[in-house]
């Protein structure tokens, strides 16, 4: 046994296997009524469901691992994907999803609303130019969502914007965002005609040819988004003119 195997073996010694999964407890916590299962059949059905889950999940997990390890994009100067759907795919799906992509100048109004575990920060957008999707008014308000705790991962952090307020945003209408506050904004900084790609709010795509960017950016106060994005691949400039070609209407 090699040293590495010995360490792995000893680490496994801390593990405790226990069959204490209880989906109905999860449903109760979520205040969702558990499905009623006839008592006499429940154990058998559970066993069958478990077998089915393992049969479906095991190959899927193996496949997903294989795909993840073998399906790497070509070498690129772009940001790391950070577990996000690549920006190119996100942008392509916007119109189909009822979203609009806009260029604007934004500023936080200082208003925020808390609902369950989400805090919504209001941002006022002016000189809005609709780049794709439904045409939006020149002035509008949207909301940036954060969690009460500072994000642990860049992908969970709210997006950043330029020191002078310039940004590009994907706007999800309130009826599609399922929030009572209003339309949701996913934003990225726009600096001197370049969109600054980074992992905060998943504005990243390793397949795009970009150049490194260093400079100040604005973040939702207390969100730690700048530091997280810097750690998770840093900042990369991509010309807005090129990004327009990725939008569905172009």
């Amino acid at each position: 046994m090699s040293d590495a195997q010995m360490i792995e073996e000893r680490l496994r010694g801390f593990r405790v296997d226990a069959d204490d999964a209880d989906w109905e407890d999860v449903l109760r916590r979520a205040e969702m009524a558990p499905k009623r299962v006839p008592a006499r059949l429940s154990r058998r059905r559970m066993a069958l469901a478990l077998v089915a889950c393992i049969a479906i999940a095991a190959p899927a997990i193996v496949l997903s691992g294989l795909l993840n390890s073998s399906h790497k994009p070509a070498a690129s100067t772009g940001p790391t994907s950070s577990g996000c759907v690549p920006l190119r795919s996100r942008l392509q799906a916007t119109t189909r999803s009822g979203q609009s992509v806009v260029e604007a100048v934004g500023a936080l109004t200082g208003q925020s609303k808390t609902q369950q575990l989400t805090i919504y920060h209001e941002m006022r957008l002016r000189t809005v130019r609709t780049l794709s999707g439904k045409t939006l008014p020149r002035n509008l308000s949207g909301w940036i969502q954060t969690s009460p705790q500072p994000a642990a991962f860049a992908a969970d952090a709210p997006g950043l914007w330029a020191p002078d307020g310039h940004l590009i945003a994907i706007l999800t209408p309130a009826r599609l965002a399922h929030t009572p506050v209003g339309p949701l904004l996913s934003i990225a900084p726009l600096v001197h005609g370049n969109v600054i790609l980074n992992s905060a709010a998943c504005w990243a795509d390793p397949s795009l040819p970009t150049s490194a960017f260093t400079g100040r950016l604005q973040e939702v106060p207390g969100s730690n988004a700048y530091t997280l994005a810097q750690r998770a691949g840093g900042f990369h400039a991509y010309p807005l003119s090129q990004l327009l070609r990725l939008l569905p209407s172009h």
């Binding site: 989906w23 999860v26 979520a30 969702m32 993840n68 950070s82 991962f153």
Partner: protein
């Protein structure tokens, strides 16, 4: 792109042990870990409309679980960061291998987290890379460094005196 209740349930049923193992390493107790995992999946169900397909469903629920764990360990006065949470992770059942438990405590938070995710949560290199927003190469290198650190510590601790 919301997550369906069925997809979240399938994830729970297929990966419960992995979530529980990972959270146990961080909370120091399998009982607390079960509570954290159940609360995380309940939050995932409540917030399923907010899943936008940015990353895998598993990574999304893992992040919720980390937030729940952070919330359960933070005091009213001060919120912990993930690094602080991992640095202070008490590790379940240290009596099973006290030397190794001590050596684990001396690892840097990042190395500890990756060791926990690999050996307690049974995540693949690709899953860890996605969750921690680092490359698979960095995962492999970090684990190799962590194993080397642990080995060095154990050899020093366990050397005959």
């Amino acid at each position: 792109m919301a997550a369906s209740t069925e997809a979240i349930e399938a994830l729970y049923r297929s990966r419960y042990a992995s979530f529980r193992g990972g959270m146990a390493a961080i909370t120091g107790s399998y009982e607390t870990a079960r509570d954290v995992v159940h609360e995380a999946f309940a939050q995932a169900l409540r917030d399923r409309e907010q899943y936008r397909g940015e990353g895998s469903l598993a990574a999304w629920v893992w992040r919720i679980a980390f937030r729940v764990a952070l919330g359960s360990r933070s005091s009213r006065r001060r919120e912990l960061t993930l690094d602080e949470l991992v640095a202070a992770a008490p590790l379940p059942s240290p009596e099973r291998d006290p030397s190794l438990a001590e050596a684990l405590k001396r690892l840097s938070p990042q190395r500890r987290l990756i060791v926990f995710l690999r050996h307690f949560a049974d995540l693949s290199y690709a899953e860890i890379a996605s969750l921690c927003e680092i490359s698979e190469g960095t995962v492999a290198a970090t684990l190799a460094h962590a194993h080397a650190d642990l080995l060095k510590d154990l050899q020093r601790e366990e050397a005959p005196r």
